[in-house]
């Protein structure tokens, strides 16, 4: 199986503080990988390194076939990114947002046009083509933001708490979009605070105090911790945290 992410003793220190403590894991092509951890466990720092936004203090990692320390520009071309905080330009229309992100990734005009039509049709947003992004309901925005993040057909897409604050129906529809992307061969790397969403992942890692404490399928994790659901697993693990930060 092709490895889309692999890390080797990946570490990030800020002064004496070890935010990420030599983590090692691999993500396979077409996988939904859940990246969990309490606030301050080091998730965001790790994710920033994987996206080529921050240089590791030591250790190494490959994302989409490129080295995260030396080939950051290549990585950025081959990944998609979506977070709840930044998703779309509010004051641009729906199609303008799509055109912008297509342009950023150097797609051709014709390609952008075709893809825009296809996405709007898939989402059932044809009527909203000329709507300003800020006028869309939150759930729609998030669906659109996800489509934008995989607009250039990246090998892997990083989703940072993509479903915060949306209603349960929209949240599930969102996950159906994720499944659809996976069927196209896109790998999904996702963080979330909703533990039921952890169950939607093929494999889940839980970070505690900068280290990856466990990594397995949700089913195996539940069995190993004798837990009814992922929330139980998480509670048992995260309570072990000793880092003063929490």
């Amino acid at each position: 199986m092709e490895k889309v992410i692999s890390t080797n003793k990946l570490t990030k220190k800020f002064g004496n503080f070890i935010a990420v403590d030599s983590i090692e894991f691999e993500v396979e092509k077409g996988e939904i990988f859940g990246f969990l951890g309490a606030n301050g466990a080091g998730k965001t720092t790790a994710m920033r390194m994987l996206c080529g936004l921050s240089r590791p203090t030591s250790g190494s990692g490959m994302v989409a076939g490129f080295d995260i320390a030396s080939q950051q520009e290549d990585i950025k071309k081959n990944i998609g990114y979506m977070s709840q905080k930044f998703a779309l330009y509010d004051d641009l229309k729906v199609w303008e947002n799509l055109r912008l992100f297509g342009g950023i990734y150097g797609m051709k005009k014709k390609e952008i046009e075709d893809k825009t039509a296809q996405i709007l049709q898939e989402l059932g947003f044809e009527k909203e083509r000329n709507t300003l992004a800020k006028l869309l309901p939150l759930g729609w925005k998030q669906k659109l933001a996800f489509s934008v993040s995989i607009f250039h057909e990246p090998k892997i897409v990083f989703l940072d708490e993509p479903t915060g604050g949306v209603d349960p129906v929209t949240r599930r529809r969102f996950w159906e979009l994720i499944y659809r992307a996976v069927q196209r061969g896109i790998t999904v790397f996702v963080t979330t605070h909703y533990m039921d969403e952890a169950e939607y992942c093929n494999r889940v890692s839980i970070m505690v105090d900068g280290k990856i404490e466990v990594l397995d399928t949700p089913k195996n994790l539940k069995a190993a911790f004798n837990a009814a659901n992922m929330d139980d697993v998480f509670q048992q693990l995260a309570r072990k945290a000793t880092r003063i930060n929490n």
């Binding site: 309490a38 301050g40 915060g164 604050g165 349960p168 599930r172 605070h193 992922m230």
Partner: protein
């Protein structure tokens, strides 16, 4: 006298209706949950009840005081924790707490017993700037600040958003204790798993309250039979069931699918290749059905 009484509150923003005829009551010593997605109108409702915003019509009383005329009285009696726990990032933990105490003409010493349980956990970092705290600790500090003047009604607007599951659980534990002191708590949340911690809840969707009841009662009143399907390839089965006209709705819930049929007779046909198991619904199932019906 109820702690909070809301009668037919309406609020419009231009032509857009933010709140539509909202009515409910909260008793003393009750945790009342306002459950809904972002943009449902929860924050506007909080602002009306904390006298920050005027409704277009309807009335509301907090501790027997009218939110419009007696706003000054209400401001003495309530504690409010707005969204994104507002603190002064450049003040230390202790300075924040002292400041809010003096704002309410009291001192930390006077009501320390009320916040002791919560504050003890962040006390080791009392000289750290609030901006450098983790989400869970910020949340605890914000709660301490909202409690420092011993309010009789507590308004918490999404206190657990963006906070990890462990901190969330601890937070609800604290609310339980406060409730025992007779404090009425109105709390909003987008997390369905927190619903069971509330005495009563209101589902709110696009400015409208869909139902107000105890969580157990809402589950008991669920009008449909609900089945779960376990499978290793749930997305394929989900797509398959979506195409089936006998299926009223199907959604994934953790590692299973929850299915509701249009009529019972047709279940048999489906059972041939998929294993259906009747289950009791969760609160989330109830909300989803109510949402769908209100559309």
């Amino acid at each position: 006298m109820k702690a909070i009484q809301v009668n037919n509150i309406c609020l419009n923003y231009g032509k857009l209706a933010i709140l539509k005829e909202i009515s409910f009551e909260v008793e003393r010593g009750e945790i009342f949950g306002l459950i809904g997605a972002d943009g449902a109108g929860k924050t506007s409702l909080f602002r009306i009840l904390t006298t920050l915003l005027l409704a277009d019509s309807g009335s509301a009383m907090v501790e027997g005081f009218d939110v419009v005329c007696d706003y000054k009285q209400i401001r003495k009696h309530v504690g409010y924790m707005p969204e994104r726990f507002s603190l002064y990032q450049d003040l230390t933990v202790e300075e924040n707490l002292n400041f809010f105490a003096s704002v309410f003409n009291t001192s930390v010493k006077e009501n320390y017993y009320l916040i002791e349980d919560i504050y003890r956990q962040i006390e080791p970092f009392k000289n750290r700037r609030a901006g450098q705290l983790s989400g869970g600790m910020k949340q605890k500090l914000a709660l301490s600040c909202a409690l420092i003047h011993k309010p009789s009604v507590l308004f918490l607007d999404e206190p657990t958003t963006g906070v990890d599951p462990v901190s969330r659980k601890e937070f609800w534990g604290m609310l339980k204790k406060l409730k025992q002191q007779g404090i009425a708590i109105l709390v909003s949340t987008p997390y369905m798993d927190e619903v069971s911690m509330c005495d009563r809840i209101a589902f709110i969707q696009r400015g409208k309250i869909l139902t107000v009841n105890m969580p157990q009662k809402i589950i008991a009143d669920f009008p449909h039979k609900i089945y779960s399907v376990e499978s290793n390839n749930s997305y394929e089965i989900l797509k398959q069931l979506r195409r089936n006209s006998a299926v009223r709705s199907v959604f994934s819930f953790g590692d299973t699918l929850h299915v509701i049929f249009n009529s019972k007779s047709e279940i048999q046909n489906e059972k041939n290749n998929i294993q259906f198991k009747e289950i009791s619904p969760t609160v989330e199932d109830c909300f989803m059905i109510l949402m769908e019906e209100s559309n």
